[in-house]
Symmetry: C2
Subunit: 217 residues, 2 copies
């Protein structure tokens, strides 16, 4: 257990602000009340040190003493092992939290990402590809998730890292109004993002990038 240092981009364009994945880590750290420091790496001209810490040139990564960890899922699982506020101790809820953490990333985000990339790129017209990915997200994912979220407050017992990931993944769908037909999913996002830890994490990310604008003059 060492000092926790979260590294994210020094600056990003307007579009991704509020959605850069360091938000997930900030949110978890705030929920757990773990002290941490934020450092920056250049968004433009990504350097070799960056690729040594994050092989795909993305952000964030976390250092904890001698360990350096990339991938938001791996970072949250690591923090979960440091705080029961993030990952419950009893075996059943602990196991359920981990499966829902993977479900958020590998079943739901897997369907959200292509859908949102087409939205971002303005390709969301009635092409066969846009229909394919719209159906993948809505018919194969949101339709099954909706009754689950209608029947419970959080995914796996108490609020956990699974909820941080699922809510953050669903926020991106909501941004493009994709939750209009899924009221329980929408209510879940509202419930999760009303938490003080999310509000602070989000404000901190926005302030971090706004400070960079100011520094650029």
């Amino acid at each position: 257990m060492g000092e926790l240092i979260l590294t994210t981009f020094d600056w990003v364009p307007e579009m991704p602000r509020g959605y850069v994945r360091d938000l997930r880590v900030r949110w978890a750290l705030e929920e757990a009340g773990l002290p941490y420091r934020v450092e920056s790496t250049p968004f433009e001209d990504r350097n070799p040190e960056h690729f040594a810490s994050q092989p795909f040139g993305q952000a964030p990564w976390l250092t904890d003493g001698d360990l350096s960890i990339f991938e938001s899922g791996a970072i949250l699982l690591h923090l979960g092992e440091r705080s029961e506020a993030l990952l419950p101790a009893d075996p059943r809820h602990r196991s359920d939290t981990k499966e829902w953490l993977f479900a958020a990333l590998n079943s739901v985000e897997m369907a959200v990402l292509p859908w949102s990339l087409l939205m971002f790129s303005g390709e969301a017209e009635d092409t066969s590809a846009s229909k394919l990915f719209d159906g993948f997200l809505k018919v194969h994912r949101l339709q099954h998730l909706e009754p689950i979220l209608a029947g419970r407050e959080w995914l796996a017992g108490p609020f956990s890292i699974a909820d941080i990931l699922m809510a953050d993944v669903l926020r991106l769908v909501d941004r493009f109004d994709g939750l209009a037909d899924y009221p329980a999913s929408k209510a879940y996002v509202v419930r999760a993002t009303a938490r003080a830890a999310f509000v602070k994490a989000h404000a901190d990310q926005m302030a971090h990038f706004e400070a960079a604008d100011a520094a650029r003059g």
Copy 2:
């Protein structure tokens, strides 16, 4: 720790055979030498018991005594906690294995899935969507992964669950000849799938679905 029961579909069409995700679990169980039993759930007419065990109606899931776990990533992490042949004990390799496990699922498979869906659906023509997802996979993922796989035998020290997932994800790219320009990635897939545990797991999955053909007459 209870009896391990892996549940997969009773039958699938020819196309996905050899690629159904129970393969990942079979492979891990064979690597670890853990005894297990395979059960089947209907592929057509998926029943409420299925959705209770796997909320998206997919396969596989694993039961271990009182625990029922879905998501191949969560299952492999669970098995890793039962066997050092899957997840090394020393803290550095253990942490690296987990981050690469998430990288396989949430960075690489996230890019492979839309690319392969377009391939499967015959949409891989020169549309703007196909160019978008081809670039996402190759420029943003494979190009960065290639020098890493050129420089090491396995992702995180000894062979681990991270390699099972990454190799299985890359196999799907290779199936559509997407690794032609990435020789180290291709060699990694060949190396991983030459392991006795993969060969047995793959043969067992093929035999499972062939037996279903026979039963259907």
